[in-house]
């Protein structure tokens, strides 16, 4: 299945784009997805970035479903 991974702020700058479309195997977890995104870019992203699935923070064992909206969340700095 194909998922869209949204990138913001410093992570979008690091990878030079605001989103990545990637194919992932059914049953893949957030941890699997992060490993895929970091593949080839390990020097530009932290090992374990914060992740949101469908606009809620997600743990790394969460299984990704078709149509999920996934986002890598850089350290937040609002206020």
């Amino acid at each position: 299945m194909t998922v869209n991974v949204l990138l913001f702020a410093s992570y979008a700058d690091a990878l030079g784009r605001p989103r990545i479309e990637m194919a992932v195997a059914p049953g893949s977890t957030v941890a699997d997805m992060v490993a895929r995104v970091r593949d080839g870019h390990a020097d530009r992203l932290p090992a374990r970035p914060l992740v949101a699935v469908n606009q809620e923070y997600a743990t790394y064992d969460r299984v990704i479903e078709p149509g999920d909206e996934i986002a890598l969340i850089p350290p937040v700095a609002g206020g």
């Binding site: 702020a9 992060v34 374990r48 790394y60 969340i73 350290p75 206020g79």
Partner: protein
Amino acid sequence: MIAPIAVGRTHAALVDRSIDPSALLRAVADVGAGATALFLGTVRHTHDGRAVTGIDYQAYSTMADRLLQAIVTEASQRYGTRAIAVEHRVGYLSLGETSVAIASAHERRAPAFAAARYVIEEIKRRVPIWKREHYVDGTREWVDPTRDASASTGLDGVAAADAMVSAAATHDPCRP
């Protein structure tokens, strides 16, 4: 044991125009309130000793909107505010401009202050908003509040996500 308090009025918005604090005060106006607290976050001219000329704020808009609403609802329930409102701005802000405004109205001053404090602390902890500072020398940099704390190990999103997922119900930044 304090009986559950009805949720008061709330307002939360991410905005791309200047914030009018008096509009927030009008939004929370309530003749039952003896105290109204107003907090403003504004763009400061220095950060870590570097001269700042302005700040770009960016957000994951849909998630930030949802979380701002969730946070004012939590504050309303915890502190029993009669009304509470927050607006956070995105886009480029010059020195002195207001990036965030929080107004809370309560019968008494202590919970009015506490509710506003809760909202700003939770925004800083949870809401996906980022700022890129522009410096006098022409350079720009994303602000990373975790950099000092995590310098030796790097950001740990696994621990952070676990904390975020479980914390909303128990976390209270106003208590030690």
